[in-house]
């Protein structure tokens, strides 16, 4: 098995280097692609009933790396299907390191598909089983787990982000805490390239609704402190004013739309009266906590 691991690993890394070399010399880098299809064959031979089937997951992980590098992530599906449906495989039978890697990559795939619950599950598995001494691996997992958790309404401690050098999420988390739409936008802008590359941009962008929710909650709380009896009625111009204070210029139609979406997505309980331009909040738990549920009811 060790020999196989070595061969497979070397095959991939050498193919990567060859591609790098080739692209530098201006030719079409197709070595990694070739390595991918070859590894697929290797996987095919391992995926039998023999004792070597435990090596299949390692090959799968290498295949993931190849496909992610090539951007042909859709090719992962067939491998995943055979891993998860084939009866010869008992997932727990595989080595831990392969299981962690496998869950990491499948988790990333779920992030792409906006399937946050599954992504959370897989990434959590990877995180839990990942050796804590492998700081870099933990960081890689957190890089995707944090946005997933955020979108599920679970905010990490800043210390965690600091520890694993995930500073790019600091402002995002702060924005979520404060309901600061501007801060979120700035954070997204500042790390746009990075987020786009890692593929979490779209996930983070959707946090904006949660930020609006937090903003509304704050407004609600403030109103409640002033006048508990009328706290559940939030006037639109108040919201517009708050947004203006955040240097976000939105007219009343847009704000109305946001409110409607918040209500529609169940981030806010209540209704909107178009005639009086007032959001009437539910008296019980007007801002339901996501608490691990994805947005969008």
């Amino acid at each position: 098995m060790d020999a196989l691991y070595t061969v497979v690993y070397e095959l991939r890394t050498i193919a990567e280097m060859a591609d790098k070399e080739m692209s530098m010399s201006g030719r079409v880098p197709d070595r990694l692609k070739g390595a991918g299809s070859f590894l697929m064959k290797v996987f095919g031979t391992l995926a039998g009933k023999g004792s070597k089937r435990v090596g299949a997951l390692y090959v799968t992980c290498q295949l993931f790396k190849v496909y992610f590098k090539l951007g042909t992530v859709h090719l992962c599906r067939s491998v995943i299907r055979s891993i998860e449906t084939a009866r010869v495989f008992d997932f727990e039978e595989f080595p831990t390191r392969d299981k962690v890697t496998y869950n990491y990559y499948t988790g990333r795939l779920e992030v792409f598909n906006d399937n946050f619950l599954a992504a959370d599950q897989k990434l959590m598995y990877a995180l839990v089983h990942c050796a804590t001494s492998k700081v870099n691996n933990v960081r890689m997992i957190l890089k995707y787990l944090v946005p997933v958790k955020l979108s599920l309404g679970i905010l990490p401690k800043e210390a965690l982000l600091e520890k694993y050098n995930l500073r790019e999420y600091l402002d995002v988390v702060r924005a979520l805490r404060r309901g600061d739409v501007r801060l979120l936008r700035h954070a997204l802008e500042a790390y746009e390239d990075e987020f786009l590359r890692s593929g979490v941009y779209l996930v983070l962008e959707k946090l904006e609704l949660q930020v609006y929710q937090r903003l509304m909650k704050k407004i609600y709380i403030i109103q409640k402190q002033r006048d508990p009896s009328k706290a559940h009625q939030v006037k639109m111009d108040v919201v517009v004013k708050a947004l203006k204070w955040l240097e976000i210029d939105m007219d009343i139609d847009e704000v109305e739309c946001i409110m409607a979406i918040l209500i529609h997505k169940n981030l806010m309980k209540g209704y909107f009266s178009h005639k009086s331009k007032v959001v009437v909040l539910s008296k019980q738990e007007p801002f339901p906590r996501l608490g691990g549920r994805p947005v969008n009811s």
Binding site: A18, M22, S25, G26, R27, G71, V73, F112, N113, D114, D193, L196, R197, G199, Y201, L202, E205, K206, E208, L209, D253, E254, E256, C257, I258, M259, A260, I261, L262, I263, H264, K265, Y271, F272, S273, H274, V280
Partner: protein, 934 residues
């Protein structure tokens, strides 16, 4: 092949390391040489002849056996060593021997093969030491006659030299016997065969066109021939005359060539004889030839000091050329062990220089200088006008007196030689390449020239066949090997270099020899061309060779290709029959080359005649240059391009309008419109009033014609952009997609168009119709900062975020403000967005929501306000009401306004079946139009 290549690579590597010294000696010797040269020629020549003949007589047996073996090796050159081994002596034959004998390999290769290493300047003193050592080891190998010969030569082994000489003598004798065409003695050809066998050559070698094919044919038979030649000189001669014999002839040449190469080394020790020969060859062939010569001379250099002197006169320019030349030669050298010795010498920079000088001298000899003296020698009536023009051209290049004098001398010699050969009038002087000027050391050149003393040198040369034979042999070998190589491995990159060198030499040769004198090639142009091509070729060859050495076993394609090339060189002997297809392809390639050349240099007319005339030769040369060029461009896989280009159709149809028919066979040029007509067609389509179906068909036919003719330029982009826009307007997404993907490729090639507009379309399309997060991320990640400032792209990104957030207000605002045809793309998403928005609204608003508000937010209304017509607004509102009803909203009338009962509607909302669905799939296309087309 591969194995052979690898071995070569190994050897090369070894060589490079080991060989390093010669350069030092050369410079020092240079000055003296010029003086030595003149005297040398006269004396040496005669001497050589004698010796040669003697040798031949004395050692016929030895020489012959060796030669055949060599021949075999040559033939096999494809698999350099291996093949050689197989062919030749058992002992030699054993590859194992080769490999195992480290001494041989390491030492020999340095000397023999790697031209590159040498070029790099490692040629210093070590060369002698290493080379000798290697050779000594070599000598141990009895099985390897040739190699041994080489070794001996370096080591001053008399036997080898003798053998070679013998061979030469034999050849020479055979030549004389077989063809008594001494008169014809050409300055022609690279001096290879012609010089040595000058007499025989004219006869033996048919006119260029014919010859090439014959050559190819010959190659296969090559091995046999070679053997035959050695044993029976007379036979060879006989063979030479007719074309069929050419095959054998080649074999002979090869064998001769090989010997010549070997001989050179021996020469140093023994005499300067080789040099004269070399010089001749160099003279015959312009710059390209020089390279070969240079190599030979280089060989000499290490051995003989006087050679170095000669070299000195050459000066830097020579070196450069030599380098260039080397590249071509290198492959050969590498491939064939025999060749290697030559190569090595060639590699030595200094050695090259001398060769260069010799080259110059040669041209001079061939051509009469415009000077009074020269003219006096050649009486006015004696010279064809073309010769006069040539002389004038040559002189025009001279910048100072020294140069002029040298020039004159050279030309004098050339003309004398030509007149002696009887080619003065038959030669096409118009196409005769100008001999290279000696910019650096005009004085030295002059000296050499003077020393040569045209008449004397010529007479001597002629008289001393041995000398000539040697010199010519060397070039001949090169040429032949090159030719073979070309034939065999035309596709290889190294090849190109090789070919460039060879072909050029060939063409020159032909021109000279050719009585038809059809070649109208512009001399200067050609020279320049050659020089450039060679330079590049050299560069690349160096590179490739280096690559080979470095990554011998690398499995990457590149290395493989290169290996192939080198292998092809080595295999030179492996004969590939030139099929008609091959010829055709060459021809087409040549044409293409010419075309490109025309564009570049504007020498169209000049080139064309030449093409038509010396079809094969010129074609080869052109191909070679082309290949060299492409190689220079770093496009290793130019072969396929060439082929495709050859097949590309050039349309002749002048019809602006053309119906689209999917091609089921090769396009007929008569039905394909050329670019100008396609331009008109595009304008016509853009301005026509006819419906989309018609436009689409026309555009498709335009696209087809563009594709068939492989036109990829701004026009292509325009056509696709036009079609994409029209498809968008008509809502024809499949067609739009085709165009968009084509445009992507075209933009990627750097062809300018409305890039950003279509990037924005692409984004919108992904956002609205594709829905793939990864594609979207990928597209977004590729946007540059400047891109993001573009209106259309900014709009697309805003749409993206609106869609992502489900922000229908913003979406419809953006919908109204969409630049270009963004509205069309968004149109296709509006229905979905509206329905989502309605669901959201019915859920969020209580108790009722005004229809007017919905109409405004969901983009039904608001257009009227822009136009200032209330009626329009009302119409839109009615439309909105209709839409709401259709989607299951429950409307209630309140005091003043129609409203949606949100709570009641929540449960009843539905997405209606599209009423306007049509059987043919696209409601935008009128059925009648569609049927009319059918």
């Amino acid at each position: 092949m591969y194995a052979a290549q690898e071995t070569q690579a190994h050897t090369q590597a070894g060589v490079s390391g080991s060989s390093s010294t010669p350069p030092v000696t050369n410079p020092a010797s240079v000055p003296d040489y010029s003086h030595a040269y003149p005297g040398y020629n006269a004396d040496a020549y005669s001497y050589d002849n004698n010796t040669f003949q003697n040798y031949s007589y004395n050692f016929p047996q030895q020489g012959n056996p060796a030669a055949p073996q060599h021949m075999g090796g040559y033939d096999a050159s494809a698999a350099p060593y291996h093949s050689a081994n197989a062919y030749q002596n058992p002992s030699y034959a054993n590859t194992t021997h080769y490999q195992t004998s480290t001494a041989y390999y390491s030492s020999v290769p340095p000397g023999y093969q790697n031209p590159v290493p040498y070029q790099h300047g490692n040629y210093s003193n070590q060369w002698a030491a290493n080379g000798y050592g290697g050779y000594a080891a070599y000598s141990a190998y009895q099985g390897y006659p040739q190699h041994e010969a080489n070794g001996p030569n370096h080591a001053v082994n008399n036997q080898y030299t003798q053998d070679y000489q013998q061979q030469w003598a034999n050849y020479y004798a055979s030549l004389q016997n077989g063809c008594k065409v001494e008169d014809s003695d050409d300055c022609t050809a690279p001096g290879t065969e012609p010089v040595v066998k000058e007499k025989a050559l004219p006869i033996s070698q048919p006119p260029p066109p014919g010859t090439q094919p014959t050559w190819d044919l010959n190659e296969p038979s090559y091995p046999d021939v070679s053997q035959a030649n050695n044993p029976i000189p007379p036979e060879n001669s006989g063979v030479f005359v007719p074309n069929p014999p050419t095959g054998p002839y080649h074999g002979d040449q090869y064998s001769h060539i090989q010997p010549s190469h070997f001989q050179q080394p021996s020469f140093y020790q023994q005499s300067l004889q080789d040099q004269p020969l070399q010089f001749k060859s160099s003279q015959d062939q312009p710059s390209i030839v020089q390279g070969q010569q240079v190599q030979t001379t280089q060989l000499h250099i290490p051995g003989a000091n006087f050679q170095q002197k000669l070299y000195s006169s050459v000066a830097e320019p020579v070196q450069r050329r030599a380098n260039k030349l080397q590249i071509p030669t290198n492959p050969r050298i590498v491939s064939t062990p025999v060749m290697n010795p030559k190569v090595i010498p060639a590699d030595t920079i200094q050695g090259r220089k001398p060769a260069y000088l010799s080259v110059e001298a040669k041209p001079s000899s061939v051509k009469v200088s415009s000077d009074a003296s020269a003219e006096s020698v050649l009486k006015p009536d004696m010279f064809p006008p073309s010769l006069r023009a040539y002389v004038e051209r040559a002189l025009a290049r001279c910048k100072d007196e020294g140069q002029k004098r040298a020039c004159q001398e050279i030309m004098k010699e050339m003309i004398t030689k030509a007149s002696k050969d009887g080619t003065l009038f038959t030669k096409n002087w118009d196409t005769e390449p100008l001999f290279p000027l000696l910019p650096v050391a005009p004085a030295s050149t002059n000296e050499t020239v003077q020393g040569l003393d045209l008449p004397c040198s010529f007479s001597k040369q002629e008289r001393s066949p041995t000398r000539r034979a040697k010199s010519r042999w060397e070039p001949v070998t090169d040429v032949k090997s090159e030719e073979k190589l070309e034939v065999k491995a035309p596709k290889d990159g190294l090849w190109n270099h090789f070919r460039a060198a060879t072909t050029s030499s060939f063409s020159l040769k032909w021109e000279k020899q050719d009585n038809s004198g059809n070649k109208t090639k512009p001399l200067l142009h050609q020279q320049l061309e050659d020089a450039e091509g060679l330079k590049r070729a050299v560069k690349k060859a160096r590179k490739s060779i280096m690559g080979d050495t470095q990554e011998e076993n690398n499995s990457s394609e590149e290395s493989e290709n290169e290996i192939m090339v080198s292998g092809g060189v080595c295999l030179g002997t492996i004969t590939t029959v030139e099929t008609p297809e091959e010829k055709m392809r060459r021809q087409s390639r040549t044409k293409r080359f010419d075309k490109s050349k025309e564009v570049k240099t504007g020498n169209k007319e000049l080139l064309k005649p030449r093409m038509s005339i010396g079809a094969s030769a010129s074609a080869r040369r052109a191909t070679a240059l082309l290949l060299a060029r492409s190689a220079g461009d770093g496009s290793g896989g130019a072969v396929e391009d060439i082929n495709w280009d050859a097949l590309t159709v050039k349309g002749t149809c002048q019809e602006v309008e053309k119906r689209y028919l999917r091609l089921t066979s090769a396009p007929d040029p008569n039905t394909v419109r050329p670019e100008e007509v396609l331009r008109k067609a595009l304008v016509m389509v853009q301005s026509t009033q006819k419906n989309y179906l018609y436009k689409c068909e026309q555009l498709k036919s335009i696209r087809q014609d563009l594709t068939v003719q492989r036109i990829r330029n701004e026009l292509t982009v325009q056509v696709y952009e036009t079609h994409a826009r029209m498809a968008l307007e008509a809502g024809d997404l499949p067609e739009y997609n085709q165009c968009q993907s084509q445009l992507k490729g075209l933009y990627a090639e750097g062809i300018r168009g409305c890039n950003r507009e279509f990037v924005a379309y692409g984004l919108l399309y992904i956002i609205l119709h594709h829905g793939n997060n990864r594609d979207l991320l990928f597209s977004m990640a590729r946007l540059s900062a400047d891109d993001k400032k573009d209106v259309a792209i900014r709009h697309a990104l805003a749409v993206r975020s609106a869609v992502a957030a489900g922000d229908y207000t913003r979406f419809f605002r953006l919908y109204k403000r969409a630049p270009n045809l963004g509205t069309c793309l968004m149109d296709l998403y509006v229905e979905k967005m509206r329905f989502e928005a309605l669901r959201c609204m019915t859920r969020a608003y209580r108790p009722i929501l005004q229809v007017s508000y919905i109409g405004r937010i969901l983009g039904f209304t608001g257009f009227g306000a822009l136009e200032g017509s209330y009626e329009k607004d009302q119409e839109d509102l009615d439309e909105c009401e209709e839409w709401l009803r259709a989607h299951g909203a429950i409307l209630v009338s309140t005091e003043s306004e129609l409203c949606v009962d949100c709570k009641a509607s929540m449960a009843t909302l539905l997405m209606p079946e599209p009423e306007d669905a049509v059987a043919h799939g696209d409601a935008n296309l009128a059925v009648n139009d569609f049927l009319a087309q059918v």
